[in-house]
């Protein structure tokens, strides 16, 4: 089918085009939008989301999902604020954040791989449990904390927040790993056909577990950034990241059906969403409309993706929902 290839090309070209349009429109709507100050702000404020979204990309490529990331970031942020408040040295706090994040990721990974609980059920359940855990830890005491290390603060080098460097390193590593390393390729093979992947000798369970563990470690880093950025930890801290991370992945064009996508696309989707959120506020739209915008964007992006995938290779499913 020739038109499927066209549609696929349109789909891949769509996001960059939309990004350019978005920047032009918001620059016209608000003189404050396209300034180094505002752009640096956007980058700094979305660094934690960027790390979580990179992790979520891995499990979505596997055909899974994680809806527990937000409160997991909250729990890590609480740990960070508590430990740094107790005066522990930065490297201890950073290590603790990564360990706590990894443990939370491992819980999800174990449920999905060893418990064979479907990812949506497992992570809906742990999201509820993490929420309660954060509530119990918080115990009606807002924790205030300063950034653990300069890199997690808004500090800039040549006008660019240092934390952007961290995000770039993570994305570059994951992109390299997934495209060049055998384990990375196995991720795609497993996502497009788990049974065939298993028969081909891929250790699907191990791969799945490691993907959730990776989310956990990235959640750990995100928690460190979150504390530096927000400065306070409350009972609902991190909650907003869950859906935004999934939105960034699907808007970027990683197929929710598994087996295809990349972290670089997620980065594109992420920039689109955070710029949209920033731009509509600068353009004077009430923040209440935020959810409507993000929701609509997700639906449009996924609809295009699914239409393209269907045209390409799914004649068998005609008539099926």
């Amino acid at each position: 089918m020739a038109d499927s290839r066209t549609l696929r090309r349109v789909q891949l070209a769509l996001l960059p085009v939309l990004l350019v349009v978005e920047f032009i429109v918001f620059s016209l709507l608000s003189p404050r939008f396209f300034t180094p100050e505002n752009l640096a702000n956007i980058a700094y404020n979305s660094a934690d989301l960027a790390l979580v979204a990179a992790g979520v990309t891995l499990v979505v490529i596997l055909g899974g999902i994680d809806v527990s990331t937000g409160f997991a970031v909250g729990i890590v942020a609480w740990t960070v604020a508590k430990l740094s408040g107790a005066g522990l040295p930065a490297f201890v706090v950073i290590f603790a954040a990564l360990v706590v994040g990894a443990i939370l990721g491992a819980i999800n990974g174990s449920l999905v791989t060893f418990g064979k609980v479907p990812p949506i059920i497992a992570t809906l359940g742990t999201a509820a449990i993490f929420q309660t855990a954060l509530f119990a830890l918080w115990n009606s005491n807002d924790l205030f904390a300063s950034p653990v290390a300069p890199i997690f603060s808004g500090e800039r080098v040549l006008g660019v927040p240092m934390v952007v460097g961290l995000v770039i390193v993570v994305y570059a590593f994951l992109a390299w790993f997934m495209h060049k390393r055998p384990s990375g390729r196995e991720l795609y093979a497993t996502g497009s056909n788990p049974e065939a992947a298993r028969l081909a000798g891929i250790r699907v369970r191990r791969l799945t577990f490691l993907s959730y563990l990776t989310i956990g470690v990235l959640v750990g880093l995100a928690g460190l950034i979150y504390v530096g950025r927000v400065g306070v930890v409350q009972a609902s801290s991190g909650n907003e990241l869950t859906l935004l991370a999934i939105a960034a992945v699907v808007v970027g064009g990683t197929s929710i059906l598994g087996g295809e996508g990349s972290v670089l696309r997620t980065l594109g989707g992420l920039v689109f969403i955070v710029v949209l959120q920033n731009g509509i506020v600068l353009a004077g739209v009430p923040p209440l409309w935020n959810g409507l915008m993000v929701g609509t964007t997700i639906i449009l992006a996924v609809a295009i993706d699914v239409l393209a995938a269907r045209k390409a290779n799914r004649p068998l499913l005609r008539g099926l929902a």
């Binding site: 449920l111 809906l124 855990a133 929710i256 959810g291 639906i299 099926l320 929902a321």
Partner: protein, 322 residues
């Protein structure tokens, strides 16, 4: 005695649920003298009626298979409730007429899910996460975050605040009839058979002439309409309509459905199991509330119950295979 024990179908989820319910009632009434008091039982069942309607919609959507899930039930309820409030107060319609409007609004929102899932073929999980967002923020935008009151006339409170033979009216007139009708349709009619066939094996169903897409679309629309009905029952009980009325109810409805034995991959389960799951969850919530445990702990407990009930399911399947 032995023969009686052996004749009980222990592998049926509903039997173990019934046992758990008995245990929960005994434990809760020992823990708190208020538990079995009529006013507590009343408020429990009034809350249960709202949640039960959402869980029923969730159950049939999951039964239809194909990754079927409706994460937007809570937001659909919120938005339908806001539509109800606007119709009854701002437009000035009779509350009973506005109630029909709310149910229709719920069906339309369910139709949005159905269209996204069956026409555009967006996976249900993503489609309903997106509408969860959309409907909730539409409710906020419509109300500006302010509660709507002032529709307590024309005897509207009858539905949510009166009793028939000692039971809350909404349970007798809405919740139980809804479950009975759903159970009859699912077990006794060609429509029910089509739903189970679709959920079990959509390819096979398609080959035997079942219109899989129309069947699933119908389930999402029904789930939406039930959420609209839940909004009406909720408004009549609390006598206000607010944008966050259904927030968090998606988790509860999924937990109840899965706990009740509706298998998440579709095609297996009965709504009578969902009803028992509802009773158990409502008892646990009420007991925790009486014990002075905050709402947030109930959320965590619910999450644990959800995971454990699925874990038990997979263990059981594994044991049957060996």
């Amino acid at each position: 005695m032995n023969r009686v024990m052996r004749s009980v179908p222990w592998s049926d989820r509903r039997v173990s649920l019934a046992l758990l319910i008995v245990i929960a009632v005994v434990v809760m009434s020992l823990l708190s003298p208020y538990f079995l008091r009529p006013d507590n039982l009343l408020s429990m069942t009034q809350y249960g009626a709202v949640l039960g309607l959402l869980a029923l919609g969730q159950s049939i959507v999951i039964l239809g298979g194909g990754g079927g899930i409706d994460l937007s039930v809570g937001s659909t309820m919120s938005l339908s409730g806001v539509v109800f409030g606007l119709l009854a107060v701002n437009v000035g319609l009779d509350p009973w007429v506005a109630a029909l409007g709310a149910i229709a609004a719920g069906a339309v929102l369910g139709g949005v899910n159905a269209a996204l899932i069956t026409l555009l073929r967006i996976p249900p999980l993503i489609a309903t996460i997106a509408t969860l967002y959309l409907f909730a923020s539409a409710a906020l935008v419509l109300t500006n975050g302010i509660d709507i009151n002032g529709f307590d006339h024309s005897g509207f409170a009858f539905l949510g605040q009166s009793k028939i033979a000692g039971f809350p009216t909404q349970v007798i007139l809405v919740l139980l009839p809804a479950y009975v009708i759903a159970a009859i349709i699912l077990s006794r009619t060609p429509t029910g058979r089509r739903i189970y066939e679709t959920g079990n094996n959509a390819q096979a169903a398609l080959l035997t002439g079942v219109n899989v897409r129309a069947t699933r679309a119908g389930l999402y629309i029904t789930s939406g309409a039930l959420a609209g009905l839940a909004a009406v029952v909720n408004a009549s009980w609390l006598l206000n309509a607010k944008a966050a009325a259904g927030a968090g109810m998606e988790l509860q409805s999924i937990t109840i459905a899965v706990l009740g034995g509706i298998v998440i991959t579709g095609g297996i389960g009965r709504v009578s199991g969902t009803l028992l799951g509802l009773v158990l969850v409502v008892i646990l919530n009420s007991g925790l509330q009486l014990a002075g445990v905050s709402n947030t702990w109930q959320i965590g407990l619910l999450g644990a119950v959800l995971i454990v009930s699925v874990l038990i399911d997979t263990l059981r399947v594994r044991r049957q295979r060996t």
